[in-house]
């Protein structure tokens, strides 16, 4: 087969072609320019193949570690290999401990200097002073946690040296909002109509009804949200953030926590230190025909047969009945069909499908 008969896949497999894309030399450039002059109809497919190779290569390059990271990893490997005996390994651990503390001091110093240079846009102080509402503020000056009950009967366990404020007219507003400085455990009364927001510096936690902990002191480098029951959505805000459609939200479920690094401005999801067992259901076969079935049953079946978590409000959706017949649809097509049927929307957040809708009556 000559290059004139090549299709996209053939070019992608051809080593001479690949060599030209990744590492062009005078000779190969001439060859391929010449080829394109003779076979202009191949221009498109050549461009496609070239585009694929270059974008794969760019994607791999994007994932490369930083130079310092490569060096640091090597250092750790060297410590690990410089010795086999156990007590020497202990020395390595001690050394890396010292290195870590030094690094921590340097980072902390850098962070403090940075704070001085660039005041964070959202801190408890700015949030509270910018709030259009009159606020009630509660401070815990004791050395034990105190419990505060909000007008909607949600409970807040406020840790020492922490402060919380909420609007005077808490019950009259469309959403329930509190501002936190420090650490608190929240047990929120369920109310899908009025989502509950916790504003803690630039971190926003949005829930419908659940229990969780937020830790966000004003000068801490890291903020943390841990979920006990239910689901919460955590995101960071900047001046453009639309609080109802945040761009960078992380959905948290029990056994998960999220850490936000203010310095790097990165939110990362982790498992809690001691996760409780989540029993993995054996993969159930997908059902292809549903007649007047509760949407929740269909979603559950999809969830299990695909092994993907789907988040939705069961109370809201359980009254929605659907008749559906699936054949060759992809997962997303199925979910989209279902969502259309119940006037809901879905989004993919951290490898999970999140469905939001008003429900059916």
């Amino acid at each position: 087969m000559s290059y004139a008969d090549f299709e996209l896949e053939d070019f992608l497999e051809d080593s001479y072609f690949k060599e030209w894309v990744s590492n062009p030399c005078h000779e190969s450039v001439q060859f391929w320019n010449n080829f394109l002059l003779c076979y202009p109809e191949k221009a498109e497919v050549v461009a496609a193949a070239k585009g694929v190779l270059l974008s794969v290569s760019a994607e791999v390059g994007d994932g490369f570690p930083h130079h310092d990271q490569v060096a640091l990893m090597w250092k750790k490997i060297s410590y690990g290999t410089s010795s086999q005996p156990k007590n020497q390994r202990a020395l390595w651990i001690r050394l890396s401990g010292i290195a870590a503390s030094l690094l921590f001091i340097i980072l902390a110093a850098g962070w403090l200097m940075r704070v001085e240079n660039k005041k964070p846009q959202f801190t408890y102080t700015t949030l509270v002073s910018d709030s259009p509402d009159q606020l009630i503020e509660k401070q815990n000056l004791t050395d034990k946690p105190i419990i505060i009950e909000l007008p909607d009967h949600s409970k807040i366990t406020l840790e020492p040296a922490s402060t919380i404020s909420y609007p005077n007219d808490f019950m009259e507003k469309e959403t329930r909002e509190v501002y936190l400085l420090g650490k608190a455990f929240f047990q929120i009364e369920r109310n899908p109509e009025r989502p509950f927001f916790v504003y803690a510096n630039e971190l926003v936690t949005k829930v419908l009804g659940t229990s969780f902990t937020v830790k966000a002191f004003e000068n801490d480098q890291q903020m943390e949200v841990v979920v006990k029951t239910g689901r919460v959505s955590v995101f960071t805000r900047n001046s453009e953030t639309d609080l109802n459609a945040p761009q960078n939200e992380t959905i948290l479920t029990p056994n998960h926590r999220v850490l936000y690094s203010r310095k790097e401005e990165i939110m990362k999801k982790y498992l809690v230190d001691a996760p409780e067992i989540i029993v993995c259901a054996a993969v159930t076969p997908a059902i292809s025909d549903f007649e007047d079935a509760p949407v929740t049953d269909i979603l559950k079946n999809i969830e299990q047969s695909y092994g993907i978590a789907i988040q939705y409000d069961e109370h809201l959706l359980k009254n929605c009945l659907l008749t559906a017949s699936f054949t060759q649809e992809s997962l997303y097509d199925k979910v989209e069909l279902i969502c259309k049927g119940i006037e809901a929307e879905f989004a993919i957040v951290n490898a999970q499908i999140v469905i939001t809708g008003r429900g059916c009556n």
């Binding site: 461009a47 496609a48 694929v52 490569v70 490997i77 690990g80 086999q84 989540i278 997962l331």
Partner: protein
């Protein structure tokens, strides 16, 4: 693109490393750590965990060097070893950790492909982005196979061994990824990319 080492150099380095040559060991690390890290992060999106796994891999390599055999492709060896470690380290509730071989491979898109389907030919820059979006929207396994085949130039047989699946499954994965690209009927976009690259 990263200057890739010639396979032959790698093989010689490996031989030297097995005999305790630390310089050779360093070279092997320097040559492969970047791609391994980039690859690992796709499979396990946790920087620290990937770092640890790579460190452990190299530490174990050094400590077991006398027991290692002579191999043709250290690069292949490293990929396969890292992938095994990653799958061992995946959290138990990670969807890929269970029956991932039998699961449909459309399960795990890296990102939401939505923007990609909106095909407005605005500027070449946007079109280049679209191709990147296609790539990012691919399920992890399809991306993995594309990367191993087109970036690392592994043979189908090698990829099959790295992923511990059949060679035919590797071919199917690649076909599916390329088919997806074609289905998007990228005519205009690709033409614009062409103009961008060649003119």
């Amino acid at each position: 693109m990263e200057t890739t080492s010639t396979p032959n150099d790698d093989k010689l380095l490996w031989q030297a490393f097995r005999l305790g040559d630390e310089v050779a060991f360093t070279s092997l690390y320097q040559r492969h750590v970047r791609v391994l890290y980039s690859y690992g992060k796709k499979l396990l999106p946790d920087d620290d965990a990937v770092e640890d796994l790579i460190q452990d891999l190299f530490i174990d390599l050094w400590q077991n060097r006398e027991r290692l055999s002579d191999i043709d492709s250290p690069r292949f060896y490293l990929y396969r070893a890292l992938r095994r470690r990653i799958y061992k380290a995946l959290p138990a509730n990670h969807p890929t950790a269970h029956n991932w071989e039998t699961m449909p491979d459309d399960l795990l898109p890296v990102t939401l492909p939505e923007e990609f389907y909106i095909m407005e030919a605005e500027s070449t820059r946007k079109q280049k982005q679209d191709l990147t979006h296609w790539l990012k929207a691919l399920p992890v396994r399809q991306y993995e196979v594309l990367m191993l085949r087109y970036y690392e130039d592994f043979s189908y047989q090698e990829i099959a061994e790295i992923l511990s699946i059949h060679e035919q499954s590797v071919r199917n994965l690649i076909q599916r990824a390329v088919l997806k690209l074609r289905q998007l009927s990228l005519h205009n976009i690709l033409l614009a990319i062409f103009l961008n690259f060649f003119l």
